[in-house]
């Protein structure tokens, strides 16, 4: 906006001549968002982030964290947190990115986490989680990278076996077992071969002795 005199001496006001001069400063921020470094040229009030990763925090994840219903990004990875994943995490319904990897969290993954229908990035890897990985909503979209390093987790996507399935039950398990049969056959083959060779060698040795005895007897009978 600016005012200028026109040729007849009247003041005319020029509006909209340019939106804003370079003189308007725009705040921006750079954060780790969904695993990569992202610069936001505008900081909208809807962008909400808690990143406490890579410290030495201990203890449980408080249940009250579920009250953060507007939080978009939660990163508590690379700490020493223990205890179960609170079911209340399912209350953070705006959450787009949840990273709890590299802690000492235990117990099962609560079914309530499937209520996080905006969740795009999930990382629960390298903890002590056990049991069945929930299989609905957004959880169908996460691959094994989200869960690896938890020896006690079962079911897709970490293993093709359904939870509780023993490798010796028929059906799906039998297909998985085939390589073991193959190894057994080879083992038996070698065992049989070894037995055969040993038997043949024994016979040969004996045959030699029998031969020598036969020759000696024949010579004796001639004389």
């Amino acid at each position: 906006m600016m005012a200028e005199l026109n040729s007849s001496g009247n003041i005319i006001t020029v509006q909209n001549i340019s939106p804003s001069p370079g003189g308007f400063y725009q705040d921006f921020t750079e954060i780790i968002y969904k695993g990569s470094d992202v610069t936001f040229d505008r900081i909208l009030t809807t962008l909400t982030v808690i990143d406490f990763s890579n410290n030495r925090l201990v203890g449980n994840i408080p249940e009250s964290i579920g009250m953060l219903v507007s939080l978009r990004v939660l990163n508590l990875s690379h700490n020493a947190l223990t205890g179960n994943l609170p079911a209340e995490l399912g209350g953070m319904t705006a959450l787009e990115s949840l990273d709890l990897s590299c802690n000492q969290l235990s117990g099962e993954i609560p079914q309530e986490l499937t209520d996080l229908t905006f969740l795009d990035v999930l990382n629960l890897s390298d903890n002590h989680l056990v049991g069945k990985i929930p299989q609905s909503h957004q959880f169908c979209t996460f691959d094994s990278n989200s869960f690896e390093g938890n020896a006690g987790l079962c079911g897709p996507p970490v293993s093709k076996l359904p939870c509780g399935a023993s490798p010796y039950t028929p059906g799906v398990a039998e297909v998985v077992d085939k390589p073991f049969h193959h190894v057994d056959v080879v083992l038996f083959l070698f065992a049989g071969l070894g037995f055969g060779v040993g038997f043949a060698a024994a016979i040969l040795v004996r045959w030699n002795r029998v031969g020598r005895w036969f020759v000696a007897t024949a010579r004796a009978s001639r004389t």
Binding site: P21, G22, G23, D51, N55, R56, L57, S64, M67, N75
Partner: protein, 341 residues
């Protein structure tokens, strides 16, 4: 004639406007026009619209600096931003008769490579309200007008400043040279020279040395990604007006100055990627507007947010929306009270 921000399409030759000899204001910005100004290198041919003093041709697909401007009697507002003009800014741009009441020159978002200046001082003797040269390919020493209020040199390839550059900032409120390749120290003389300064953006350069104490008197301080060292100035006055402090990616060490709690307008505090060794600044909890606090990648230690005394948790950090404390040495528990209303 103000016809900006429409959906006008087609080509416009400004030479066709020559019969409008009394035209003083022309704005064709933000249409879908291809604007040109035909001339045959004949001075008689280029002297039209001589009465013009406000010209806005933003985003008009211009490829050549309009030569008729050379013969304009008195210009106060020239906006050629967001076009495709390459080569030098012609030297007569600086010799035009600029308005004594303050002028506006915006040549940003083009492909200018030079300025045809004899010295590194912009020879416009009247006050520049705005000089915006951002988003070009200008190199060498940053040219300074003798008196400018808003000076924007963002995103060029400038490599140095005049030795006495701070002495040109006595009328300046906004100074940005972000994203260039400038090294050296900031002389403490800036505290005596730049008395009007409100916004300072030196981010993404190679500045080193100490942070002058008067930087804490600004509204916006952006020194992001430089090599500034030493501690943060502790002289933060009671009426501190800082809204943004971005010192991310420098070599700042020592403790956080407790005077930051005086900065009641503070909205963005980014001190990430430095060498600050201190405890969690729970003493900032009363700042009513603080919405972004990034302290990642420092040497902070102790527990997070232990509130002593009778302060209620719900009164702490009332506007905080981004808190990034990653990669420090914080210990202790996550407190259930942090997350409760």
């Amino acid at each position: 004639m103000l016809i900006s921000s429409n959906n006008l399409i087609g080509s416009v030759d400004l030479a066709h406007f020559r019969i409008l000899s009394y035209l003083t204001v022309l704005d064709l910005s933000y249409n879908e026009l291809h604007v040109m100004s035909s001339d045959n290198n004949d001075p008689a041919d280029t002297s039209y619209l001589a009465g013009l003093n406000v010209l806005g041709l933003v985003s008009c697909n211009i490829t050549q600096f309009p030569r008729f401007l050379r013969h304009v009697n008195r210009i106060s507002h020239l906006d050629l931003s967001c076009n495709k003009i390459s080569g030098d800014i012609p030297n007569w741009t600086w010799e035009m008769t600029w308005s004594v009441r303050g002028s506006y020159l915006n040549l940003s978002h083009n492909m200018f490579t030079g300025m045809q200046l004899n010295s590194d001082v912009v020879p416009i003797n009247t006050r520049m309200e705005v000089l915006d040269l951002s988003f070009n390919r200008l190199s060498g020493t940053i040219p300074m007008p003798s008196s400018g209020t808003v000076l924007e040199y963002f995103n060029n390839m400038f490599s140095s400043l005049l030795p006495n550059w701070t002495s040109y900032l006595c009328q300046t409120t906004y100074f940005s040279i972000s994203k260039n390749s400038i090294n050296g120290h900031v002389s403490p003389s800036i505290c005596n020279d730049a008395i009007m300064l409100d916004v300072l953006d030196l981010s993404y350069n190679y500045f080193s040395g100490l942070i002058p104490p008067c930087f804490m008197d600004l509204s916006i301080l952006n020194l992001r990604e430089n090599h500034f060292e030493g501690t943060l100035p502790s002289s933060i006055r009671t009426g501190c007006g800082l809204q943004t402090i971005d010192l991310h990616g420098n070599k700042i060490e020592g403790k956080l100055p407790r005077g930051l709690s005086n900065c009641l307008s503070l909205e963005v505090l980014d001190l990430g990627g430095n060498r600050i060794a201190d405890t969690f600044p729970s003493w900032l909890r009363g700042l009513p507007k603080l919405s972004v606090m990034v302290l990642r990648s420092n040497q902070l230690y102790g527990t997070i947010g232990d509130i002593v005394g009778d302060t209620k948790f719900e009164e702490c950090f009332p506007s905080l929306q981004i808190i990034d404390l990653a990669s420090n040495n914080f210990s202790g528990n996550l407190r259930p009270q942090w997350f409760k209303r």
